[in-house]
């Protein structure tokens, strides 16, 4: 395993790919992998790319890769697609929309969400960390198609780009909570289509109503025709530079790290409980007693919480 880490740090793509699989599959080696990388976390800027299905995220990511490569910067990409809730399988098609680059400066990895809600996979962050340690300048993280409420990308990215396209709803949609609150900048993609101008105008109007923060920039793009991508990248770079200059980035990353740690530990405990036969037995027993009108649901809940406090795992882990 140490050998894989060293090979990866020396630029071996096969080793990076293997490490990513180990992380994604929750190999028992994972803690040692990240321990070995502690002092060499990387220096990439992480750009999250999110938006509804069909907005053109993958195509736009492909154009951003080209533009960043043209500037001589290296790029790692994580592209997340949904897993089927029925079979657990997934069709990962994001690469299809990206340019076929035989380029050592680009590393694209497809991930299935594997049942994790929120637009990312459970171990997307670990894979991003590996890409970072591999020495990329930029990491682009493309979420599954998202809508109202998938905000996990907030925990991932230094900068979040929301990609929209015309015909996805009126201003009321824009006023709803969700995507419109997480974006540091917005791309109105498919700008050649009818409704693109009015979508941009409606977004800008909706942003002006918000008093708590400055309106995020909105740029028109046509990823397919490669228009507006340079201008979009200028805005991304401007946001990156501003955050790096005012020292926000470090504080932002630390806050994100704390959220991530909390979430990871919560998930770990949820997994342990799900795999604990005593706990499942208690749950089933209490559910039966609620059904039989013996106790009420809140009493059952109190019993579970009491039991949780006594669980050995909760104190020893």
């Amino acid at each position: 395993m140490e050998n894989l880490v060293e090979r990866m740090q020396a630029g071996d793509r096969r080793a990076l790919a293997r490490l990513m699989t180990l992380a994604e599959n929750e190999s028992p080696e994972v803690p040692r992998i990240f321990a070995a990388l502690r002092r060499a976390p990387g220096r990439a800027h992480r750009l999250g790319v999110t938006g509804p299905p069909g907005a053109g995220k993958s195509t736009l990511v492909g154009r951003l890769i080209e533009a960043l490569r043209a500037a001589g910067e290296t790029v790692g990409v994580l592209a997340v697609d949904p897993s089927s809730p029925l079979s657990g399988g997934a069709l990962l098609g994001d690469r299809l929309r990206m340019p076929v680059l035989d380029d050592p400066g680009v590393f694209v990895r497809s991930m299935a969400s594997r049942g994790t809600p929120g637009g990312l996979a459970r171990h997307s962050l670990d894979l991003a960390d590996l890409l970072d340690a591999f020495g990329r300048d930029w990491i682009l993280i493309e979420t599954v198609g998202t809508g109202q409420g998938e905000l996990e990308i907030l925990n991932e990215a230094d900068t979040t780009l929301v990609v929209l396209h015309p015909g996805t709803g009126d201003t009321v949609q824009a006023l709803k909570a969700g995507l419109f609150e997480v974006g540091d900048l917005f791309a109105v993609n498919k700008a050649d289509q009818i409704g693109a101008d009015s979508l941009k105008a409606e977004l800008e109007w909706a942003f002006r109503l918000r008093e708590d923060r400055a309106a995020p920039p909105v740029r028109m793009t046509s990823a397919r025709e490669n228009r507006g991508v340079g201008e979009l990248l200028v805005e991304v770079r401007r946001i990156r530079a501003a955050r790096e200059a005012d020292g926000q980035l470090g504080a932002q990353r630390q806050a994100r790290l704390a959220r991530r740690l909390r979430r990871e530990v919560e998930l770990e405990f949820a997994d342990r409980l799900a795999g604990d036969p005593d706990w499942t037995g208690l749950l089933e027993n209490l559910a039966r007693r609620v059904m039989d009108l013996e106790i009420d649901r809140y009493a059952a809940r109190a019993e579970l919480i009491r039991r949780l406090g006594k669980t050995k795992g909760a104190t020893e882990a």
Binding site: S27, L86, G89, L96
Partner: protein, 138 residues
């Protein structure tokens, strides 16, 4: 350790018929595999590079243009060059039996000819990947 089978389905060269590839990709997804589909007109080197970066267990090459005797040996060589000679390489499409035999001898794990059921393809891949993983080929 959870380890879904990862598969790359590829079309190599000028062959422009991808319906079969899409049918197989969907069937393997329904069998619980993670299937990466990269579209038409890939080179053997691109297929091998994708197989390496995506760390797939299986590469499936669909050939309906008659170029399989050129394409598949190239893919095999490119996989070797990319350090992925451990991949299960399977071929599908219009491939005569005598040529299928030659491909098997060259290192293709299995050739699925017209009429193959997607269920058989999934079953073969599950068995073959389990066997190779068990052999410690990781």
């Amino acid at each position: 350790m959870k380890a879904p089978i990862r598969v790359l389905i590829a079309k190599v060269g000028l062959d422009g018929h991808d319906r079969g590839a899409k049918v197989v990709a969907s069937a393997l997804r329904d069998a619980g595999m993670e299937v990466i589909y990269t579209g038409l007109h890939q080179s053997a080197e691109q297929v091998a590079a994708t197989a390496r970066d995506e760390d797939v267990d299986v590469v499936g090459v669909s050939s309906l243009s008659g170029a399989h005797m050129t394409v598949l040996p190239r893919v095999l060589a490119a996989l070797r060059a990319a350090g992925r000679e451990d991949v299960v390489l399977v071929a599908g499409g219009i491939i005569p039996t005598d040529e299928a035999q030659a491909l098997l001898e060259a290192g293709v794990a299995r050739v699925f000819r017209p009429g193959s059921s997607t269920r058989d393809i999934a079953a073969f891949l599950q068995e073959e990947v389990a066997r190779r993983r068990g052999a410690g080929a990781a």
